[in-house]
């Protein structure tokens, strides 16, 4: 037998052993009393999704039932996640699904499901209207989230208040990824609110890609052309953190402008408490995952799940956080790291 054949045999044997081991792990405890739930993360390598999964696990443990969870990694790819949803609902091996959609619009293609099992969605709805939280497709039993446009408008309202006595009030929009419906909806909401106030001038709109380094570069570039910025309005804390570094590099005190992010990371909550940022729209991913699992358990039991859970109401603190609102909940530190 030549070396190629030996290598092939070793690889096949190793693969078979690995698959057997994985299969054994998957099937552990899967008797008639065990509910099997697939958790479809937009990306299992992402802190936000990890926090959602943590909440799902907590709710599963607290339910008093035997629930076998399987986490699937969508790799921030809409097609990958669509395939995963189709696979888990066609095999007949699962009793329910919790999903954090990477693209809720595209994910609607999986409906109607091959096997009718309940689906709970977190953060984004599944269906054509990204701002409609009520189930849009047959199979989704609960949506835990808030309309992105509504949340973005709240952020923009904070800018309007800050800019009331400033004319012109120069604002930079630092938006995640303008090729996705979610961020286009947010950008449009920002422009709608800010556009109604003639003293506010949006001098630049740049993409931050939910990344500190990308945002640091983008804001550094913007500051070359606009040194008199009053506001940086971002939809993500990671982006606001990058903007903060860009401001510091340019010799501008971040606290001297209206810098705001969204997401509710621990760093963001600390920055708002310290006054470095003026605000941050708080998400509660662990609480959202927990709520989604609680509603899913109801549906798997044959009961009726709550169609919409307002994610702003479940975290125990005011979602649009400012230094003042956070003083009311001194123990709140945020539910995830960015």
């Amino acid at each position: 037998m030549n070396s190629l054949r030996i290598s092939g045999t070793v690889a096949l044997t190793a693969t078979a052993l690995l698959l057997t081991a994985c299969g054994a792990a998957d099937s552990a405890g899967s008797d008639g009393d065990t509910l099997k739930v697939a958790v479809l993360a937009a990306s299992s390598q992402n802190g936000y999704n990890q926090a959602v999964y943590k909440g799902v696990k907590e709710a599963a443990a607290a339910s008093g039932k035997k629930i076998d969870l399987k986490l699937l990694d969508g790799q921030f790819d809409s097609n990958t996640q669509l395939s995963q949803l189709q696979n888990v609902t066609s095999t007949g091996n699962y009793d329910g699904v919790v999903v954090v959609p990477n693209d809720g619009v595209g994910l609607a293609a999986a409906f109607p499901l091959s096997k009718k099992i309940p689906v709970a969605t977190v953060l984004n709805p599944v269906g054509p209207d990204i701002n409609k939280m009520e189930p849009q497709v047959d199979g989704v039993v609960t949506t835990v989230g808030v309309p992105p446009a509504m949340a973005a408008e709240k952020q923009a309202d904070g800018v309007v208040t800050y800019c009331a006595e400033i004319n012109p009030c120069n604002a930079v929009l630092l938006v995640g990824n303008l090729s996705t419906p979610l961020d286009v909806a947010r950008r449009d909401a920002y422009n709608k609110v800010l556009g109604a106030h003639p003293n506010i001038k949006v001098v630049s709109t740049v993409e931050g890609q939910y990344d500190r380094d990308t945002s640091l570069k983008a804001i550094s570039n913007v500051l070359q052309a606009h040194k008199d910025i009053n506001v940086i309005l971002s939809n993500a804390d990671q982006e606001a953190a990058g903007a903060q570094i860009a401001l510091q590099n340019a010799g501008i005190k971040p606290s001297s402008i209206y810098l705001t992010g969204a997401g509710g990371t621990k760093d963001a909550v600390a920055a708002v408490r310290a006054g470095t940022w003026k605000g941050a729209y708080i998400n509660f991913p662990a609480s959202m995952g927990k709520a989604a699992m609680e509603e899913l358990v109801k549906a798997m039991d044959g009961g009726t799940a709550k169609a919409v859970v307002n994610a702003d109401d479940i975290g125990g603190t005011e979602p649009y956080a400012t230094k003042e609102t956070l003083t009311k909940t001194p123990d709140f530190t945020g539910e995830w790291n960015g």
Partner: protein, 333 residues
């Protein structure tokens, strides 16, 4: 200019040029230096249409922002000239990012954390080289597989979360300056100088060209092909480690998503600059031209407040144009 290019352009090429009219010679020059000419054209255009572009702070800003990518591309030139690819640079970057941040937060030692990055990068790069040579797997597949392994390590270390570093002095490498010049830019200049000397002025550099040009012939000529390949991958890992140390210091945080897309950006910059994707031809300066051509477009669009989607469109068209011009030049020859 590389040793290969030197002989190609001033040897046989000069004799041909001697009898060629000036017009075709200008066209041939334009094709060979397409990326450089485009870089100058974009630079001049931005200087004219934007009052903010041509300033010391903005130029330093561009250099500083892109120093990590440029360092990776400089080392990537060795890999591509040797006829291989390194698709694991982004994953290695994320590993060194989270490990450096972890060390800084757990030990409080800035230097230990920042020195760990290049050391770890060197080790991971050498492992890539060994995977390619010992397992006889094409570099494309070997580094694709190792990138999955390295990325998984980064996620396992952090659980997918960001590690914030508050250790005093940790940000100095990424944000500090001397005489108005960022440390990262000085490091880039040093890396560029050493890499240029290594590729163009040493026996090792000639061996890299030989391995990329024709590995069989190189082997028959006494070149230890496998050793050259391991070294170029180790250099790539070392460069990623240096770039990662700068990046993690600049952001004062390590995260498993750090460096996403860097591998393709670095390869695109090397190819855009004019190094051959087939190996055997290339130069370090060409890779820097590629990096900064893309960087200028990004900087210009942000300054001019143009729709971000237009930035991707224009960048794509320019990359296609530059590579097509270079391909036309090769066909002509």
């Amino acid at each position: 200019m590389t040793a290969t290019e030197t002989s190609r352009e001033t040897g046989a090429g000069a004799a041909v040029h001697g009898g060629t009219p000036i017009g075709p010679r200008v066209i041939a020059f334009a094709r060979d230096y397409a990326a450089l000419i485009l870089l100058v054209a974009v630079f001049v255009t931005l200087s004219i249409i934007s009052s903010s572009f041509l300033s010391f702070t903005n130029i330093m800003n561009i250099l500083n922002q892109n120093a990590p990518l440029a360092i990776i591309a400089v080392a990537g030139t060795f890999v591509i000239v040797s006829g291989a690819f390194d698709l694991s640079t982004a994953a290695m970057y994320s590993v060194v990012s989270v490990v450096a941040a972890s060390i800084a937060t757990s030990t409080g030692s800035v230097w230990l954390a920042l020195l760990a990055a290049p050391v770890l990068g060197l080790v991971m790069g050498a492992l890539n080289g060994l995977a390619v040579t010992r397992l006889n797997v094409h570099s494309f597949l070997a580094t694709l597989a190792s990138s999955l392994v390295y990325k998984a390590v980064a996620v396992l270390v952090t659980g997918g979360s960001l590690i914030t570093v508050t250790t005093s002095g940790f940000s100095e490498l990424g944000r500090g300056k001397v005489a108005g010049i960022f440390f990262s830019v000085l490091i880039l200049i040093a890396v560029f100088a050493v890499a240029s000397l290594l590729l163009n002025g040493t026996v090792f550099g000639r061996h890299v060209f030989a391995v990329g040009g024709n590995p069989e012939a190189a082997h028959l000529s006494g070149v230890r092909v496998d050793r050259v390949k391991v070294i170029v991958f180790a250099l790539s890992g070392l460069a990623v480690g240096i770039a990662g140390a700068i990046g993690v210091s600049r952001l004062a945080s390590g995260q498993p998503q750090a460096g996403t897309g860097l591998e393709l950006q670095a390869i695109a910059a090397v190819i855009l600059g004019g190094s051959s994707i087939y190996g055997g031809i290339g130069a370090v300066w060409r890779s820097l031209v590629g990096v900064f051509l893309i960087a200028l477009i990004g900087n210009g669009f942000d300054i001019l407040n143009v729709n971000p989607q237009m930035k991707d469109l224009v960048t794509g068209v320019i990359i296609l144009a530059a590579v097509a011009l270079a391909a036309a030049d090769r066909r002509r020859r």
